[in-house]
Symmetry: C2
Subunit: 124 residues, 2 copies
DNA sequence: TAAAGTAGGTACCTTGACGTAACTACTAAC
DNA sequence: GTTAGTAGTTACGTCAAGGTACCTACTTTA
């Protein structure tokens, strides 16, 4: 999967494909994380906080996330235009799952570190 | 993140990076799914089931997964060598989380389909 | 004798994803 | 009048990830 050409993953893998394709993008989880922690913010703020991202990438990622219903885009046609992005309901929903995933990752990382530091007696 | 060059994602995003980098690979979730559903199997079987994957990719993915402790590799030096891959404890652990993620994806996909098919009265 | 299957490894080559830079329109400030 | 800031879009170049093809060493089968 994740190549869109398999044609055989007709089981529970398709929604996985959908969701991983979304999160996979280079800055995606970082953007989601920032929006979650810092709350709704403007394009410029987001760009400054997601260190190193280019405007192009940020726009592209935000468009994908918006299309999938993870973030909302609020456009005010004032003269310096003001565009505010916020996590939508789905974004918050995903935060929970991603939190679990991160917790699993943390645990493994900690286990690995422990195994590396105390390889003696190791009840392994 | 997911580019290894940010240097700013020093929060809860690092384990995310670790785990997404693992799952992100093209065929990874497909492989994990197959190993989970079909149980331990040989390289050839896996390659045949994960339709379209090349030996190179499969080997590479399996090595990463093995290194991360998600799958185990059992090598028997018989004359046609027999190599069996199986989900390790971490693999099973991840299955649960990925199941949740897939469920979320399914729900969204269903919601989207419903919204597209019945845009009238929208209570379906 | 030759082909096929086992589990990969290696070399090469393409492609598309990402980064960079320039451009938009409009206004406020200097 | 020129610069900066707003929120992008567009064009272009590059580089590495992934695909394809070929290679191993050994045995069984036709």
């Amino acid at each position: 999967m994740l190549k869109g050409k398999n044609g055989a993953g007709d089981l529970a893998s398709c929604p996985m494909d959908f969701i991983l394709r979304l999160l996979m993008g280079p800055w995606t989880t970082y953007i989601l994380y920032t929006l979650g922690e810092q709350g709704p913010q403007r394009f410029g703020e987001l760009k400054r906080r997601v260190t190193g991202v280019s405007a192009k990438m940020l726009t592209e990622r935000l468009r994908s996330l918006e299309q999938a219903g993870l973030v909302t885009r609020h456009y005010e046609a004032t003269i310096p235009p003001k565009v505010t992005y916020a996590l939508a309901a789905r974004g918050h929903e995903l935060r929970g799952v991603l939190g679990t995933l991160a917790a699993v990752g943390s645990k493994w990382l900690a286990e690995d570190a422990a195994a590396a530091n105390v390889p003696r007696q190791a009840a392994e």
